[in-house]
């Protein structure tokens, strides 16, 4: 029946916390007003520390109850609670010291100052919990924020998907993100420049100090739009010249939205927004070319050792653990030299053994390399025997077999692979077979080359 009492008491925490602050600060002010040898405020100081301590204890209890009943996480309140208990304890300790004599105990001003510090920190942490950690900093000018080292997360513009961009809501998924990105920093409920809030539909409709900013169906009479298309150095141009400027697509989208009635509901397709305008906002699902791994960057001396043995070796990008290795200056590389590379087997993402002395048996060593993505075996004595082992490489995308002995059936043996994208077989027996066989249906592209250009009359006509 009375289950609500404790949570209700907890909810009084925001009110109660002001009592210890007020009472203790008052007492501490009296401490600092007391002159040495005079005891005019002594009784008041003692009372202030007693009442302050009690108020602090009551606040702490209510705070603890709020934590218990309102689902706060321990991590977020732990320091606030610990400091609050410490504040309470210090208050009572100081009161106890005052009780033992008729004058201020030694170093009492210093002790009081410590209590002020504790109070401030407790209060600040409490504020962080209820108002958010950036409550004080977010209204500072952006320059000052970045000077203070606060990372400002830029507003993201519209983000649409390739598959269903037509069904995205025009206002909430496109227009509002554009406004957030370009206008929000000055026109939000906390920082109402020109009395204008551009973060919600209501704000847009309410307009600013000079009246409405949106005339549905008529962009040229909507200040929201017209001030964006003014010359950048015009006094009324928005956003201000030193701020991020909206792209021409963003402006065109806002225009189209206003022309279409400036409605809150409706999709891109219903508003007949052309694909071109939203092209920049379609998230490109870029699949990284090389596999994503957690292999750390190769140690500089091991990399240097590889280079010293004659390989071209470098990371696929700086900081990556994957390697690009080529034997471009190591034509003498042969099957038995594999031991030099075996240690870096898991790192090899790009391996060029073109023009070396390797034979079919190198394929045994190459099998089972987890990250190999590009393999070049051009101009080698590879005959294609047991070529199908390469189909087991999980990430191999490009396979170069130009000027080797591979034939078509060996290439067809590779079809079990799901990762292959292109296989190059220019100047091989396979290339000839392909030109005779005509169209092939393989899950990857086979480039057999042998391109020719016809002799045209214009090749020889000199004007």
């Amino acid at each position: 029946m009375l289950d609500f009492i404790l949570p209700l008491f907890g909810r009084f925490h925001p009110l109660l916390v002001h009592l210890p602050i007020g009472i203790l600060v008052f007492g501490i002010i009296l401490v600092f007003l007391s002159k040495a040898g005079q005891n005019t405020h002594f009784a008041s100081i003692r009372l202030a520390f007693l009442l302050g301590g009690i108020a602090a204890a009551v606040s702490s209890v209510s705070g603890f109850l709020q934590y218990q009943y309102e689902g706060f996480e321990w991590e977020s309140i732990q320091f606030h609670l610990i400091l609050a208990l410490l504040t309470t304890a210090v208050s009572f300790w100081l009161w106890y010291q005052l009780n033992r004599g008729e004058t201020l105990p030694p170093f009492f001003k210093i002790k009081s100052a410590v209590l002020v510090l504790l109070l401030t920190m407790t209060g600040h942490l409490g504020g962080n919990i209820s108002r958010g950690e950036n409550y004080l900093t977010e209204i500072l000018p952006l320059d000052l924020q970045s000077f203070l080292g606060i990372e400002i997360e830029p507003e993201k513009g519209p983000q649409l998907l390739e598959e269903n961009w037509e069904n995205a809501a025009l206002y909430s998924e496109v227009i509002q993100p554009i406004l957030n990105q370009n206008c929000k920093s000055c026109h939000n409920p906390r920082n109402l420049k020109g009395e204008l809030d551009l973060t919600t539909m209501n704000g847009l409709l309410a307009g600013g100090e000079d009246g409405l900013v949106l005339t549905a169906g008529d962009a040229t009479h909507s200040e929201l739009y017209t001030r964006m298309i003014l010359e950048k150095d015009h006094d009324d141009h928005m956003p201000p010249a030193e701020k991020r400027q909206p792209s021409k697509e963003e402006i065109a989208l806002i225009e189209a939205w206003i022309q279409g009635g400036g409605k809150e509901k409706g999709t891109l397709a219903e508003a007949a927004i052309p694909r071109k305008l939203i092209e920049p906002f379609i998230a490109r699902n870029e699949v990284p070319f090389y596999p994503v791994t957690t292999i750390p960057e190769m140690a500089a001396d091991s990399l240097a050792a590889l280079k010293l043995s004659g390989f071209f070796a470098e990371g696929v990008e700086s900081g990556s653990g994957l390697l690009k290795v080529s034997c471009i200056n190591f034509p003498g590389f042969q099957d038995s030299d594999w031991t030099m590379l075996a240690g870096a087997k898991n790192r090899l993402a790009y391996l060029d053994l073109s023009g070396t002395k390797v034979s079919d048996s190198i394929l045994d060593s190459l099998g089972g390399m987890p990250n190999l993505t590009v393999l070049k075996l051009n101009n080698t004595a590879i005959t294609g025997k047991s070529l199908e082992k390469l189909a087991l490489l999980p990430h191999l995308k490009l396979l170069y077999l130009n000027n080797t002995g591979v034939n078509l059936s060996q290439i067809q043996d590779l079809t079990s692979s799901k990762s292959f994208e292109k296989v190059f077989v220019y100047e091989t027996p396979a290339a000839g077979e392909i030109s005779n066989a005509g169209k092939l249906s393989l899950p990857f592209l086979v480039e057999s080359g042998n391109y020719t250009l016809p002799k045209l009359a214009t090749d020889t006509i000199v004007y």
Partner: protein
């Protein structure tokens, strides 16, 4: 509000007026010291350095300047072949089809096009000049290409066109510099130098950046278009001779064996090394490197630079004739060099400056002849790179330094004897193909005269930013500290051209 601003302005002026030389000197005491602190506090982590006996700090890069480096992020391409048509070909006869312009042929140029404009040679009101070529659409992409380029029109699905390129230089020299170095004035490193500086090169027996010229002349801007500017000189383009031996003195002199030569070079380098230990001048290191490179080049260059051994069908494909200076030979060499791990190959073909002052410079005859010279070779280059799989990670760039006017040139106010067009900065076409490029795409739309880009305009900086991106760089972060500030290829401009990226 206005008054308040005035007050502030007055305050600022009077504060400045009260500043004396003494104040300045006093400030210097504290503030210059602070400046000196700055790099210590915020500087980047220095390269790993080696201390020489002379006490000089040298990074590994100083000792081996062309050693390969990882790109900042995975680049789609690892080499560039840049085909520069020096003199600037006419986009209106090759790629930018303007039927409306044909209707205006021989009429006075509309005033609106001339207002406030300066041209290199056109004076007064010129006549419009309709397209002199027949256009048709090609490939699945439906790209418009004229009958001047019958072979190339078969491979349009491999390339991405930039049809609204613009520049701000209307004379050849500055425009070529701008196109190649990002600045119309001398002193900046070329694109090839930047890339070689950033990535090093794969084949340690060949230079990282090779330049080949054809057409009888080198570009108007001179060797600066492949210069290294403020980058170390080792990154400049190495120009090979277009005729005869591409590199002189590769053969060992008679009576001198390879071993003997090796001994001579190591002896010289030993002496140089002692000099370096004594004086610590990094230019001595450059010299040591050059000797070693020259020795190593003797192994690889004769094979790479010799097109005689290429099979007959390749010669037929490119239309190459060994021994003579030609764009075709250079295209074949470019393929061979890239195949051998050269980072950047720059081809210049001179003779595209079609003003209409003579037959060779005419739009309907001279231009056709030039097109015949490049049509087969550049198409063959694309096909050959494709069949070898090299197009996967090689970029091919084609273009001039600017475009040509839709107006007939009227030099000195006179009617020209031949059909010709003046230099034009506002709109021209370039194309890019290869690693990371969206095949068969086209970006940029020009107005009905082909005079200005009206949509999707792209600048020289945008092109550079995109090329660097494909090579694995962020053009805004790829900088070199010089004269107290970091320099970029794209200066303070350049936006990625996303639409032509795959």
């Amino acid at each position: 509000m206005k008054n308040l601003e005035k007050l502030f302005a007055e305050l600022a002026t009077s504060t400045l007026q009260n500043q004396t030389r003494r104040h300045f000197l006093m400030d210097c005491v504290s503030k210059v010291g602070g400046l000196a602190m700055a790099p210590l506090l915020f500087g980047c982590e220095p390269d790993k350095t080696v201390k020489t006996p002379a006490g000089l700090q040298l990074s590994e890069r100083d000792l081996n300047p062309l050693a390969p480096l990882s790109p900042p992020f995975v680049g789609k391409a690892k080499s560039i072949i840049y085909l520069h048509m020096a003199g600037a070909p006419s986009q209106l006869e090759l790629f930018d089809f303007k039927p409306e312009l044909a209707k205006l042929h021989n009429q006075d140029c509309p005033e609106s096009l001339l207002e406030g404009r300066k041209f290199a040679f056109i004076r007064g009101v010129p006549k419009m000049l309709g397209p002199q070529a027949n256009f048709s659409q090609h490939g699945q992409s439906g790209a418009w290409v004229s009958d001047y380029l019958p072979h190339f029109s078969k491979v349009v699905d491999e390339v991405a066109f930039l049809k609204a390129m613009h520049t701000d230089q209307f004379n050849h020299g500055p425009a070529q510099l701008f196109m190649q170095t990002g600045s119309p004035r001398l002193g900046r490193p070329s694109l090839g130098s930047w890339v070689t500086y950033g990535l090093g090169t794969e084949n340690q027996n060949l230079p990282g950046f090779v330049v080949l010229t054809s057409g009888g002349k080198t570009p108007d801007a001179g060797k600066s278009v492949w210069g290294s500017g403020f980058l170390p000189s080792v990154y400049q383009g190495v120009q090979c001779r277009s005729k005869g031996d591409p590199v002189l003195y590769l053969e060992d002199p008679s009576g001198m064996s390879r071993d003997l030569k090796k001994n001579v070079i190591s002896a010289i380098n030993q002496v140089n090394k002692e000099d370096f230990d004594g004086f610590g001048d990094p230019e001595i290191l450059a010299r040591i490197n050059q000797y070693e490179m020259a020795y190593r080049m003797q192994i690889e260059v004769p094979e790479v630079m010799n097109i005689n051994d290429e099979p007959e069908h390749i010669h037929e494909l490119y239309g190459t004739k060994p021994g003579e200076e030609s764009f075709a030979n250079n295209c074949l060499l470019a393929r061979k060099l890239v195949e051998k791990g050269v980072r950047v190959v720059q081809l210049y073909d001179w003779g595209w400056d079609t003003h209409g002052t003579d037959k060779d410079g005419s739009i309907d005859m001279g231009l056709r002849n030039k097109c015949r010279e490049i049509d087969r070779p550049m198409t063959a280059l694309l096909l050959d790179l494709k069949q070898r799989g090299l197009l996967e990670d090689t970029l091919v760039v084609w273009g001039g330094e600017f475009g040509r006017t839709p107006m007939q040139e009227n030099r000195e106010g006179k009617v020209q004897g031949f059909k010709g067009r003046d230099h034009h900065t506002d709109a021209f076409t370039m194309w890019v193909a290869g690693g990371g490029i969206r095949k068969g795409s086209s970006y940029g739309i020009t107005d009905d005269f082909g005079f200005s880009g009206i949509e999707e305009r792209t600048s020289v900086h945008d092109l550079h930013a995109t090329l660097l991106h494909l090579m694995g760089f962020d053009h805004e972060k790829f900088t070199y500290e010089f004269q107290g500030r970091p320099f970029r290829l794209t200066d303070v401009e350049g936006e990625l051209i996303h639409s032509i990226l795959a």
